[in-house]
Amino acid sequence: MNLVATITLFSSVAIIFLIGLLASRTNNTSASFMEDYYLGGRSLGGFVLAMTMTATYGSASSFIGGPGVAYNEGLGWVLLSVIQVSTGYFTLMILGKRFAIVAKKYKAITMVDFLKERYQSKWVVLLSSFSIIVFLFSAMAAQWIGGGRLIESITGLSYHSALLIFVLTVLVYVTFGGFRAVTLTDSIQGTIMLIGTVILLTSIIIAGGGISSIMTDLSTENPNLITPYGADGTLSPQYVSSFWILVGVGVVALPQIVIRAMSYKNTRSFHRALIIGTIVVGIIMLNMHLIGVFARPILPGIEVADTVIPLIALEVLPAWLAGIVLAAPLAAIMSTVDSLLLLVSSTIVKDVYINYIQPHAPRKKVRKLSMTITAILGIIVYLIAIHPPDLIIWLNLYTIGGLEAAFIWPVVMGIYWKRGNKYGAIAAIITGFSSYILFQAFYPEPFGMHAVVSSIGISLIAYVGVSLSLKKV
C-alpha cells in the first residue's frame, strides 16, 4: 500500500465528486426534467462536448487493458490504437448537424427516441431497448470490476472495499446530478487524462534514457516489437485494418456516443468539439499505448497485463503525482460507467415506461422514478460486480461490436436515406446482432478480419433489401 498515492488519488476523486454534486443544483430550474436530467438541456458547449465524448469512449479498455496489450505486442498495437483518432471527427461529422436538427424536431432524448420517431414502430423500440439494456448493463458491470481492481492495486485495500468506494462515488453523483453533472465531471476527467498521460509518458521516456535507447532495448529483446506486426508477427494488415470499423467508423452507432451528438448548444460548440475532440483523442490514445510499450524495458516481466499502468506510474513518478495521474484511468472508467448508468436508466424510464406503461406520468413522478431507477440499477450492478458471473464477462466482450452491427444502419441510414423503413430497421437490428454473435462463436475472423466487418455488411444488405421490398403501406 502506498499511502501518499492513495491520499492524492482519493482527493482527486473527491474533487470530481464535489463538482458533480454542485452541478446537480442547477437541475431544478429547467422546464423539462427529462431533457435536463438525461441531456443536460441540450446546452453543451464545445469543450464539454469534446471531453464528454472522449471520456465516455475512452473506457477501461483504453486505459488499463489497451496499454497492457501494447506492453506485450509492441508498436503494432499502438498502430491499432491510433485508429481511434478517427472517432474524434468522424462520429460527430457523420451524425452531424442533420442529426441534431432532426433529434430536436422529434424532441428525442435518447437514441431509442430517435429510432421511435423515425420508424414509428413499437418493435424497433422494444428490440433496441432490449439490446441496449442487456449489453450496456454487462458492459457497465465489467467497468465496475475494472474500477475496483484499479483502486485495489494502488491502495492495497481489499477488492470489496475498493469496489464499494468506487460504486458509492459514482452512484451519488449520477443519481442526483444527471447528465449535466456527468458531462461536467467528464470534462474535468478528460483534462486529468490528457495532462496525466503527457506527464507519465515524459517521465517514462526520461526513465528509459530517451526514445532511441528504449527502441534499441525493444529490438534487442525482440525485433518484432518495433514492427507493425505484433510480438509474434500475427497482427496481419487486414486484421488490424478491420479495427477501423470496430473502434473507428462503427463507434457512430454506440448509444452513449449518439446521445452526446444531440446534446450540444449550437453549431459553434459543435465545430469546436470537432477540433478539440480530434486533438485530445489523438494525444490520449497515442500516449497511453506508447506508455504501455515503453514500460517494457523499464519494468520487464509484468505478468498481469492490466497492472502495467499502475505499476509503471508508481515506478517512475513521485508517489503524490502517481496518485493524481492514476486518477486519470480511474476517471475514465468512472465516466464510462456514469454515462452507461444514465443511458440504461433512461432506456427503462423514457423508452419503456413512458412509451408503453404510463404515457402521461406527472413530472414529479418521472423525476422520482428516474432517480430511483438509476440508484437501483447501480446497486444491482454492484452486487453483480462482487461475484461476476461468467455470462457478464462474455457479454461484455461482444458489447461494442454487437451494438454497432445492430444499430449502425438504422441510425445512419435513418438520418440520410428517406426510403429506409421500419422493416429494414428491424431486419438490420436482428441480422446484425445475431450474425455477430454467430460469427464470434463459430468463425471469429471471416476473411482474416474482425467479425464486426462482415456483420455490418450483412446488416446493410438486410436494411436496404428489406426496406426496398417491403415498402410502407
Binding site: 508498436l75 499502438v78 498502430l79 491510433v82 485508429i83 483518432v85 478517427s86 474524434g88 471527427y89 468522424f90 460527430l92 461529422m93 457523420i94 452531424g96 448537424k97 442533420r98 441534431a100 436538427i101 430536436k104 424536431k105 530517451g210 526514445i211 532511441s212 528504449i214 527502441m215 529490438s219 525485433p223 518484432n224 518495433i226 514492427t227 507493425p228 506486426y229 494488415p237 485494418s241 477501423w244 473507428g248 467508423v249 449550437n266 453549431t267 459553434r268 465545430h271 470537432l274 477540433i275 480530434t278 486533438i279 489523438g282 494525444i283 497515442l286 440520410y416
Partner: protein, 91 residues
C-alpha cells in the same frame, strides 16, 4: 458561395460527406506508411526522433496532419446554422 446553400440539410449532407472523405484519406495515409515502410526487415529501419520511420509517419505525423486538416476544414468549410430558427422546421 454560402448564399447558394442555405438549406441546413444540404449543408449537413455536405459536411457528412467531408467526414467520409477525411476518414478515407486518414486510412490511406495510415495504411500506406505503416505497411509500406514497416514491411522491411527491422534491421533496415530508419529512425525519426527515435521512432521507426513507419511509426513516426503513420501514427505520430498522421495524428498531427489529421488535427490540422480537421482544424482547417472546420474553420473554412463548415457553416454555422441556427438551431432555434423556425424556418427549417418544415424542411
Amino acid at each position: 458561395m454560402k448564399e447558394l446553400d442555405k438549406n441546413p440539410f444540404k449543408i449537413a449532407n455536405r459536411e457528412a460527406l467531408i467526414g467520409v472523405i477525411l476518414v478515407i484519406f486518414h486510412f490511406t495515409w495510415w495504411f500506406a506508411f505503416a505497411y509500406g515502410l514497416g514491411k522491411k526487415d527491422p534491421a533496415d529501419y530508419q529512425y525519426i526522433l527515435g521512432f521507426p520511420a513507419w511509426f513516426f509517419y503513420s501514427c505520430i505525423a498522421g495524428i498531427i496532419i489529421m488535427s490540422i486538416l480537421v482544424f482547417i476544414i472546420v474553420k473554412f468549410f463548415f457553416t454555422d446554422i441556427p438551431f432555434d430558427d423556425e424556418e427549417f422546421e418544415q424542411s
